[in-house]
């Protein structure tokens, strides 16, 4: 048993999946990367609104109301948000690959980024074609899809990621086949 290695997931696992994960990893609750990324997204959304304010300009009697937007601040927030996402992706990719290479778990955690990106962008009819992808691919795809979903690009795996991450079931998202995760998210009204 590898007890030193940590898996960052919000655990709400089916018992059989939890048993399988505990055979290989030490579980860290509440510290998953998607959560960190979600917190960052919320922060940027709040900061953006603060960068726009209603002000009065000009002298009487020509005084008028305008909305003043700090484009410098908005540019900076856009750059930081992009970097936060890239950083989350990079850390996730690194950790998954470390586990896979270091502990002979390539089958379980092998991360093919190309497949993950395709899964993140796939349409409903093709979702079942990804039934055999690894945990790692699903994790990476979930983060990519979640980011797109947060931006408003509503893909099907994004919908699944949004549902399972928002209800605190990120481990189920990784455990289920993508089509199952999506159908359950649909069934829950997301």
């Amino acid at each position: 048993m590898i007890s030193a290695m940590e898996v960052y997931v919000n655990f709400d696992l089916p018992p059989e999946a939890e048993a399988e994960l505990r055979r290989h990893f030490s579980v860290v609750r509440g510290g998953d990367l998607s959560n960190v990324y979600r917190t960052a997204l919320r922060k940027y959304a709040e900061e953006r609104v603060k960068a726009v304010e209603r002000v009065e300009v000009g002298e009487e009697p020509f005084r008028r109301v305008v909305y003043a937007a700090d484009l410098g601040r908005l540019t900076q927030l856009a750059e930081e948000e992009g970097k936060a996402f890239e950083k989350a992706l990079e850390i996730l990719r690194k950790r998954l690959n470390e586990y896979a290479v270091g502990h002979g778990l390539r089958d379980l955690l092998d991360v093919d980024e190309d497949v993950a990106r395709r899964l993140a962008e796939t349409k409903a009819p093709e979702l079942s074609e990804f039934k055999d992808v690894s945990f790692g691919v699903k994790a990476l795809a979930a983060l990519i899809a979640y980011s797109k979903y947060a931006l408003g690009r509503r893909g099907v795996f994004g919908k699944a990621a949004w549902h399972w991450l928002e209800v605190g079931g990120s481990a189920r998202l990784l455990y289920y086949a993508p089509i199952t995760a999506y159908l359950k998210a649909e069934g829950a009204g997301w």
Binding site: R48, V49, A51, V52, E53, R54, V57, G58, R64, V65, V66, Y67, A68, A69, D70, L71, G72, L74, T75, A78, E79, G82, K123, P125, E126, L151, G152, R153
Partner: protein, 335 residues
């Protein structure tokens, strides 16, 4: 549109300016705008009757954009931000008052479209351009006040149509702010004579000649369709049933209006083609040319769902397309 603060809508619009890939493609434009530093957005009261009447007035916003200078002075940027409710969504766009000032940032795109059009023109498999043109006219290319015109945010549509219509004027009147970042909106127009010319050539030696149609202009082609409308209706009734008769008969009186006629002529000619010449390699070739334009302008092909959708148009026009497709053995559902 859910009730949200104006500040939130403005922040969302400006966020989209920085989203990729658009922000990368149009980096020059985004950087130029970002240089402004402090942007002031002044609400503009829209005065059109349509705006006054509709509920949209309270849910849509237009702002004139200024650079907010030290001390509160405002310097106009020659553009407006519009935030409009469309269906269930919200459309964010920058509209240029001073088109020339901002055009330079999109010149490269326009040059690419012109070059692509040259390649497309050489590769069109059907020599007669009219069936392609009628397909586009039935979808995204409008006829208005003696000219053909089109507005699109897809560069490929600009290139495809330029290959056919040889637009005499192309510009970028604004930028849509989408979830894929900024996307320029292209506007093109050219005199209606371009279509007249294609009709003349087709009647001399192309598709119209094959159909036995003598017309020298769009006006004459429309007139021919009006005069032969009973044949079109009968053919449609044979394919779709008696219930479509009254809807299609009513369409005849509206064919003088180019807004209606442009959507009707292409499917009507396809139906007439199927009636007169049947389905064979030659007629399928012209069908392919018409439908490629119609789908290119207002439809989509889904390989995964194994279906093709044609969008836009009233029910009567959709029924006409359904009849034309049925005549070719293609099952169509009208929604």
């Amino acid at each position: 549109m859910r009730p949200v603060a104006v500040e939130e809508l403005v922040a969302e619009a400006l966020r989209r300016l920085f989203l990729k890939p658009g922000a990368d493609y149009y980096r020059g434009f985004v950087e130029e705008l970002a240089k402004v530093g402090k942007l002031a957005l002044e609400p503009v009261e829209e005065k059109t009757n349509e705006e006054k009447k509709s509920k949209e007035k309270t849910e849509s916003y237009v702002f004139r954009l200024y650079r907010l200078e030290e001390g509160g002075g405002l310097k106009e940027l020659g553009m407006r931000l519009s935030i409009r409710k469309v269906g269930e969504g919200i459309v964010y766009a920058l509209e240029f008052d001073d088109v020339e000032r901002w055009l330079g940032f999109f010149k490269q795109e326009l040059e690419v479209a012109v070059k692509a059009a040259e390649v497309i023109r050489e590769r069109l498999p059907v020599e007669d351009r009219l069936p392609y043109m009628l397909g586009w006219v039935a979808s995204i290319v409008a006829i208005s006040e003696g000219r053909l015109e089109m507005s699109t945010s897809h560069l490929w549509q600009l290139a495809e149509t330029h290959a056919l219509f040889d637009w005499s004027y192309v510009t970028v009147p604004g930028v849509n702010l989408t979830l894929e970042g900024p996307k320029p909106r292209f506007y093109a127009h050219t005199p209606l004579e371009k279509l007249d010319e294609a009709i003349r050539r087709s009647a001399e030696s192309g598709w119209l000649k094959m159909l036995g149609i003598k017309a020298k202009s769009w006006k004459e082609l429309k007139q021919w369709v009006v005069e032969n409308w009973s044949g079109v209706v009968e053919a449609a009734v044979r394919r779709l049933g008696e219930e479509v008769r009254s809807v299609l008969e009513a369409l005849r009186d509206r064919l003088n209006d180019d807004k209606v006629a442009r959507k009707v002529v292409a499917p009507a000619l396809l139906l007439i083609q199927a009636e007169r010449l049947g389905v064979n390699e030659e007629t399928l070739k012209y069908f392919g040319a018409v439908i490629s334009g119609a789908i290119g302008g207002g439809g989509h092909v889904s390989a995964a769902m194994k279906k093709v959708e044609l969008a836009g148009g009233k029910r009567a026009v959709a029924l006409l397309w359904a009849a034309a497709l049925a005549a070719l053995g293609i099952k169509a559902e009208v929604r």
